[in-house]
Amino acid sequence: MRDVVIVGAATTQFGRAQWSLLKLMAEAAHGAITDAGIERKKIDAVYVANMGSARNNRQAGIASALVDRMNLYPVAADTIENGPASGASAVKNGFLAVASGMYDCVLVVGGERMQEVNNFEATEFVSYLSHRFAEYIYGITLPALAGMFARLWMQKYGVTSEHLAMVAIKNHANALLNPASHLKMPIAMEGLLHSPDSAMNNPFVADPLRFFDCCPVSDGAAAVLLAPADLAKNFKKTPIVISGIGQATDTQAVHERPDPTVLTAVQTASRKAFAMAKLEPKDISLAELHDAFTILEIAQSEQVGFFPEGEGHLALERGVTQITGKLPINASGGLKAKGHPVGATGVSQIVELALQLRGEAGKRQVKNPRHGFALNFGGFGNNVVATILSKGA
């Protein structure tokens, strides 16, 4: 296999888009191409990550549609759908295509425009990820699965609503430093849990999870350009190496897991990524975790291997996961506050790590990062992709 590097990276503003899904994706793609400083005719193949365009935006075959929108023909183009992990799956497929030698220059774009439908429709379409006959028919939503997970986790490890709120407060603060983030809204413990208005401003969504424990419904797109390491000198930016990728699956119905608090696919995907990169969790300088719900940042921070079992919330308390801490988590604002345009999320995590490793992350720049870790969590943990990026030698 050839070594693969990221030579271009870009994201659009996340939030409520003024444009169509295709224009959002094209804007991100154009950003990555410009960032790399190449002509678009050099691109050999395009991988597009998206979950809901056929349902929400009345456009199927979104990769072909994007190629048309950007006059990229006759490049090869494929759509990758892996639920909320579509983004990292698309990066993985782009990586494989370059590593194999089949293509030299691959564009990976992730995008979602969810606000084209109302919130009921958006919740409905995301709930299609659950098991159709054992979960979906009951009205199960992703927040409901996360609520059941949170209740068990909190009871088992003594995690409180305050700990969950600390994740939200941290990630909202980080998002204020990220121009592309969806929610630019400082929040505080008092308002979330302890003021007379808390019940109104931060109601239960799926108890014990409240409104500010859940990510927003966002529009947005992100893109990276991949190339073999030996051609990296043809591009203008410092190449960032994709040093490890791991992917793993688990039961679709959450109730079938022997211990529903154990996210086996997170553990396996992470272990595989670390093995491929020949690194350990202690080598990681910063991580982007899939905090669609605050409880997931705490759970993943342990199950990836950063903290011992039952101690993720203690690390959070001590400030270890702040931008200035020993292991910054979700410096971008995370899904919680940067936003979660489903198909874009995994790609935008990679974009964030690439910018951080290049030293281009502006006010949220982590000090001298060497290796970055991203976890993209599909379904409710039934398809997980872990990616490790490293600064070149």
């Binding site: 009951y138 009205g139 209740r151």
Partner: protein, 133 residues
């Protein structure tokens, strides 16, 4: 017609699974017999969800995961006002969703103990289907 929710019992080794998979997780056989999920179990976790998808008009739905004494686990709706982790529940089958004007039936768990206060009575099971019972 009585509605049932069926687990699958492997015809070769007897392993019970829910939901159904193509291969038996224990012996890899591919032939199964339907076994209705019924009887009692223990509530493993639950949530009361207020942000619901389409098809629901009520304020909230309570969901839970139950370890059935039969051996399988199942997700379902709870007709229990104040659920408690570890409480004993009984499986019933009733309408759980209205999809395109048609009732879909599934598991609804009730408290085993005849405590009137523990039975949810003020929330209609499914507002979209007044004939729910």
């Amino acid at each position: 017609m009585a509605h049932t929710v069926n687990a699958a019992r492997c015809n070769k080794c007897g392993q019970l699974s829910y939901p159904t998979h193509y291969y038996c997780s224990k012996c890899n056989a591919t032939e199964f017999s339907p076994i209705p999920i019924s009887g009692e179990g223990t509530l493993l976790t639950f949530t009361r969800a207020y942000a619901l998808s389409l098809d629901y008009e009520q304020l909230y739905v309570t969901f839970g995961i139950v370890q059935m004494d039969q051996g399988v686990r199942a997700t379902g709706q709870l007709d229990i006002q104040e659920p408690v982790l570890g409480m004993r529940v009984r499986a019933t089958v009733g309408p759980v969703r209205d999809i395109g004007g048609r009732d879909v039936f599934g598991l609804r768990f009730v408290s085993v103990f005849p405590d009137a206060a523990a039975v949810e009575s003020d929330q209609p099971a499914l507002s979209a289907s007044p004939s729910a019972s």
